[in-house]
């Protein structure tokens, strides 16, 4: 057992390959999570307010955003979306290789998913609170920033957690087509070269990462929950 662990910790593939792979994964997950929240939160709010019977009902905008943009993007298998977005990625980042390039497709895949979670979180807010906000003379923007988003915060944090975990899963796939990270390490060495140790270690690291994200997310969600 001790010999096995010594072999594991002196395995050059792991010593040389693991640190950059971890950094690449954290880069991909970090950049695309941040971008997803920044883009997905407003999109989710818009989906909520323009829905039929919503605060700012707008049928045209609703049709463009909900059934067309969100549903169609979400129907794409990530592997296909990733490849289809290579030209856009080249245009935006200048290359289709590396963790920053991979963040483009990760973000585009995650934004509609997160936006739906935001929309659902906002729908759960009791209509009486929105009435109260209006009756007190709140503008639409004040209702959104001072009432809707704060009231939905515990659910929104839970949604962010779910989204980040999903991005971790997708990032392993993104690794295969040039994103790098733990996913590529596991695939290239573990799967293609039958280095079982490498595969096991990377999978364990991904499990730890996901557990950590879920733990921190739950903690924050509980801390902001005053219901």
């Amino acid at each position: 057992m001790i010999d096995y662990l010594r072999d594991l910790f002196t395995n050059p593939l792991l010593i040389n390959g693991l640190p950059p792979a971890i950094i690449e994964t954290l880069q991909m997950v970090g950049i695309s999570s941040l971008a997803t929240v920044v883009l997905g939160l407003p999109l989710g709010v818009v989906l909520f307010v323009v829905q039929p019977g919503g605060m700012a009902e707008n049928r045209i905008l609703h049709t463009i955003l909900s059934p067309i943009f969100v549903n169609i993007t979400r129907s794409f298998p990530y592997a296909i979306l990733m490849v289809a977005l290579i030209p856009l990625t080249r245009f935006l980042v200048g290359t289709a290789i590396g963790p920053i390039a991979a963040s483009v497709s990760l973000t585009i895949a995650a934004v509609p998913f997160f936006a739906r979670l935001v929309e659902t979180a906002l729908r759960d807010i009791h209509g009486g609170k929105i009435d109260a906000a209006h009756a007190m003379g709140s503008s639409r923007m004040q209702t959104i920033t001072k009432v809707l988003v704060p009231e939905a915060m515990p659910t929104l944090v839970a949604g962010i957690t779910t989204t980040v975990v999903t991005i971790v899963g997708y990032s392993a796939m993104a690794g295969l087509v040039g994103g790098g990270g733990l996913g590529r390490l596991a695939y290239n060495y573990g799967y293609q070269r039958w280095e079982v140790d490498v595969m096991v270690v990377t999978v364990i690291l991904l499990v730890i990462l996901v557990q950590l994200i879920q733990f921190v997310g739950d903690r924050i969600s509980r801390a902001v929950d005053h219901r």
């Binding site: 209006h134 009756a135 003379g137 004040q142 704060p150 005053h226």
Partner: protein, 340 residues
């Protein structure tokens, strides 16, 4: 002072036209508490939503101290809305905010500075008896306390009208009375007009100066509480001062007469006096006595035995300052029992 004129709200359900409000007019002067009572489906909720412009009325006008709410749009409407403080059945507080931040919300909207806001919030929390709960969150308070916060929040923008929508319907009887006492104590605060919408007769009896009965989207009866109670055949009188429905009239021999006496007459033995005057025993089969707005009202139903002319009994009662009618002459008070 709030003046509502000819308010209509018409919905379309497919081809069917639903008149939720069918020409409502009313005036609530400053310093008074007006109750609007009606059972479910009478148009109460629609009226509240139209008065606060959460729903736009189909036609008609709402004026608060001369400012027209119905013609206001966007910015002007938001400003005008601050003239009405709305108290909800389920306080509808914001769970993410502390009590102090809930009460301060209307002030935050118009950019009142933090120091000034805290001062005002302290004053309002003191007024509703929650001086030391400012740092708590709504979930930590009882239903009655939450409703107090709701009232404080509604008063934060110094409104001209306090509109209470079923303010006690979610509360237990004791808390109900505490909240009613609080609402009643606000009467006359800086010329506040209070409008209470309810299905509970108890609320009207406890705090209202005047009352309107809403039925089928119309106000079918309205007036000062002490006036409407006096109308022996009025629906509001039947509801406010009704004979308990469990009186079994089929076992009574003779003719039934309803007697209503008010003020000092209510405390005099009018029935006994009449009994000796007509020389016949009069049996009291049911009745209710209420003390409303400082006046005692008594409504009795008596049985005049066969062989005695009921008209003589009625004349004798009338001569003593009471109102009396044959029970069979009174309009059937359908639909008011569930109000009482």
């Amino acid at each position: 002072m709030i003046t509502v004129e000819d308010l209509y709200k018409v919905y379309h359900q497919g081809k069917r036209e639903v008149r939720a409000l069918d020409g409502v007019s009313l005036t609530v002067p400053s310093g008074s508490v007006h109750g609007i009572i009606g059972h479910s489906g009478a148009g109460k909720s629609t009226l509240v939503r139209c008065l606060t412009m959460l729903d736009r009325p189909t036609s008609g006008t709402i004026e608060i101290n001369g400012v027209n709410l119905t013609s206001a749009r966007s910015n002007a409407l938001r400003k005008a809305r601050r003239r009405i403080g709305l108290v909800f059945q389920q306080a509808n507080l914001f769970d993410s905010r502390t009590i102090a931040d809930n009460v301060g919300y209307p002030l935050e909207l118009i950019g009142v500075g933090r120091a000034e806001r805290l001062r005002k919030v302290d004053e309002l929390l003191g007024l509703v008896g929650l001086g030391d709960s400012g740092a708590a969150y709504p979930a930590q308070l009882s239903g009655g306390m939450r409703q107090r916060v709701g009232i404080a929040r509604a008063l934060a923008s110094d409104p001209d009208v306090l509109l209470c929508d079923e303010p006690t319907s979610a509360l237990d009887p004791r808390t109900t009375d505490e909240i009613l006492e609080l609402i009643s104590s606000l009467r006359g605060r800086d010329g506040l007009a209070v409008l209470v919408i309810t299905h509970e007769m108890h609320v009207v009896k406890s705090i209202c100066d005047s009352v309107s009965l809403l039925d089928g989207g119309r106000i079918v009866e309205s007036g000062r509480l002490t006036d409407v109670v006096r109308r022996l055949d009025g629906r509001l009188s039947q509801a406010l001062l009704g004979i308990p429905p469990h009186v079994d009239e089929s076992v009574v021999d003779g003719v039934l007469v309803d007697v209503l006496s008010t003020g000092e007459h209510a405390t005099r033995p009018v029935v006994a006096h009449t009994s000796s005057e007509v020389g016949a025993p009069l049996n009291i089969v049911g009745g209710s006595v209420e003390h409303l707005a400082g006046t005692t009202f008594s409504h009795l139903r008596i049985a005049v035995p066969s062989g005695t002319d009921p008209q003589r009994v009625i004349d004798s009662l009338l001569s003593q300052g009471a109102d009396a009618r044959l029970t069979s002459d009174l309009a059937d008070p359908t639909g008011t029992e569930d109000l009482a």
